[in-house]
């Protein structure tokens, strides 16, 4: 495991921003960390990169405890709310970060133009960071995070200020990095983005992890079935309710949420056995968005 946390907790007074977070991330993966605003996503990342000190719990990054300088040499971080020294040029900013990471002059000369090219800022390196657009600032932030070729990259909302084209470019960079064996811990609101590129996902709500696993595992957790039924009797309804996690009836349409698709034949049987007439039955797998909304709403009630 390149990253492991055990009961990592951050309290602000009596309020838990993160409560007993247990996560593990394998090397070479893109790990998606999802949650609504204020759920504790950034708090966790800030603890992992050394900006916040945990109230309790432990974590190991690259096999070393939190705060270890050796581990920090091998991690890259793009913060969510950041600003760089706007009086530096893009090139000077990258040179400063290269120097901060102990890169030699030769390495610097080689890496700075390479990452500028990678994030699409080649030719803009002589401009002051203060004159960059929001999207360009996001790109230069990503360049700083990539500069020292880190083994583990923490990206907190990396595409938040980018246009669709920029988002696609960032997505391609992430996929390239995974291809070269790097690990990415991605905090994002963009569920479709996460669905497209992440190998594993964890969802946090109110400071607690509410779901985690591969996307296939998570999405197979629930199946939504829509039926068209006439003459739905009380016993049939009771049996359907007993089978499903959630049921909604609207006229002749019945929507149920099942734990797995193996329960679908029992649904049909419950309707027919109790005198109902089944006209259609269709199952659809949840999208990550459905799962996300369901989990967050459940947590809110």
């Amino acid at each position: 495991m390149i990253l492991e946390t055990e009961n990592l907790t951050k309290m602000y007074g009596a309020k838990a921003a993160c409560s007993k977070i247990c996560l593990s991330v394998n090397e070479g993966q893109i790990f998606g960390f999802l949650g609504p605003n204020g759920a504790g996503k950034s708090t966790l990342v800030k603890m992992l990169v050394g900006l916040l000190f945990p109230t309790s719990g432990t974590a190991r990054i690259l096999g070393r405890p939190l705060g270890d300088l050796g581990a920090r040499r091998k991690i890259g971080y793009l913060p969510e709310n950041f600003r760089y020294q706007d009086w530096l040029t893009g090139e000077e900013l990258l040179s400063f970060h290269a120097s901060l990471r102990g890169m030699s002059g030769t390495e610097r000369k080689q890496r700075v133009p390479a990452v500028l090219e990678q994030v699409g800022l080649a030719g803009k390196e002589k401009q002051k960071v203060g004159a960059y657009s929001k999207g360009m600032q996001q790109r230069v932030g990503l360049a700083c995070a990539l500069l020292h070729d880190p083994a583990l990259l923490f990206l907190d909302e990396p595409a938040s200020a980018l246009d669709p084209l920029g988002r696609r470019e960032v997505r391609e960079i992430m996929l390239e990095l995974r291809g070269s064996g790097k690990t990415i811990f991605l905090n994002s609101h963009l569920l479709s983005e996460v669905e497209m590129i992440c190998d594993r996902v964890a969802i946090i709500n109110k400071g607690k992890i509410v779901a985690g696993g591969t996307l296939d595992e998570l999405l197979a957790q629930t199946v939504e079935v829509e039926m068209q039924v006439e003459g739905l009797t009380r016993p049939a309804l009771a049996e359907l309710a007993a089978l499903s996690k959630k049921i909604a009836v609207e006229g002749r349409y019945v929507n149920v949420v099942l734990e797995h698709s193996g329960q679908i034949p029992a649904l049909a049987e419950a309707v027919v056995k109790n005198g109902g007439r089944l006209y259609s039955l269709g199952a659809k797998h949840n999208s990550l968005e459905d799962l996300f909304v369901d989990l967050i709403q459940r947590g809110d009630h």
């Binding site: 900006l51 300088l69 920090r72 950041f82 760089y84 009086w87 400063f96």
Partner: protein, 275 residues
């Protein structure tokens, strides 16, 4: 640490802190030079034996207001050095790097210290030269006095850096100036206490020097430059800008410990701070 020091220098230059400071210092020195030149000519005319007391007054005034300007610069430069970089997110990109938090504080302190020391040394030389060439006053060349003049802004720098680790930029600026004002007012009260023979006022001055030793350092400089053995009259004639009693070497040791203490406290607070 060198990376942080160089960045601090670059910031001072790029954000035009140095330019504004140099321009304002030049304006001050030009005005001061004109005041010494014409003031001395006017005041010394017909002053008789009291003529010898005029030039030291000009020197004391120059050093006093020079100390004020440089201390002001120290506070202005460092007042938001940590807090504003946390508030605007710059620290979020630096702290996770392979750099100790103590290195960030020490690098910034060294960067500002070097700038302030060079600036204070040049200012000190300029004031001494202005007084010497306009009044003919023979000012002893004392490296220790010049060193103390350079030490003054470091006291305020340490105060501002500590405040910057836990106060907002505005609150820190107010706190640093209030503390500096306590030292200045206390120093004046102490001198008036010597003139008026009031032990209470002298004690208030000493207590304020413990809270903010910058003024005591100024008194030490003035005493070492202007005191003549066996003639305490010249010191008392300087009034609130003079030095009724020479601050002891322990006061200087205290000032050095004060800087060190504030710096260590800043390191401790910042090393445990959630950002």
């Amino acid at each position: 640490m060198l990376t942080i020091i160089l960045l601090t220098f670059k910031e001072i230059v790029r954000r035009r802190i140095l330019l504004v400071t140099v321009i304002l210092a030049a304006v001050f020195l030009a005005l001061y030079g004109a005041a010494v030149h014409y003031g001395y000519q006017e005041m010394s005319r017909g002053a008789g034996p009291l003529k010898a007391l005029i030039a030291p007054q000009f020197l004391a005034l120059g050093l006093y207001f020079g100390s004020f300007i440089i201390s002001f610069l120290a506070v202005m430069a460092a007042v938001g050095t940590i807090s504003s970089e946390i508030e605007n997110g710059i620290m979020h990109a630096i702290v996770p790097g392979p750099v100790r938090r103590s290195t960030i504080i020490l690098g910034k302190f060294c960067g500002y210290s070097l700038m302030l020391t060079v600036f204070a040394a040049l200012f000190y030389i300029a004031v001494l030269l202005i007084v010497h060439y306009n009044t003919g006053l023979d000012i002893p060349v004392k490296a220790a006095a010049a060193g103390l003049f350079c030490l003054q802004p470091l006291i305020l720098l340490a105060v501002a850096m500590l405040g910057s680790t836990f106060l907002s930029t505005l609150a820190n600026g107010i706190a640093a100036f209030m503390l500096y004002s306590v030292g200045v007012v206390g120093g004046m009260l102490e001198q008036i206490g010597y003139l008026a023979g009031s032990n209470m006022m002298v004690n208030i001055g000493i207590a304020s020097s413990l809270l903010m030793p910058a003024d005591a350092v100024y008194r030490k400089i003035v005493y070492s430059l202007l005191s003549v053995p066996g003639a305490s009259l010249s010191m008392t004639m300087l009034g609130p800008f003079g030095s009724g009693a020479e601050p002891s070497v322990w006061m200087l040791a205290y000032a050095a410990c004060y800087i060190l203490g504030f710096l260590l406290l800043a390191l401790r607070i910042f090393s445990k701070k959630d950002i």
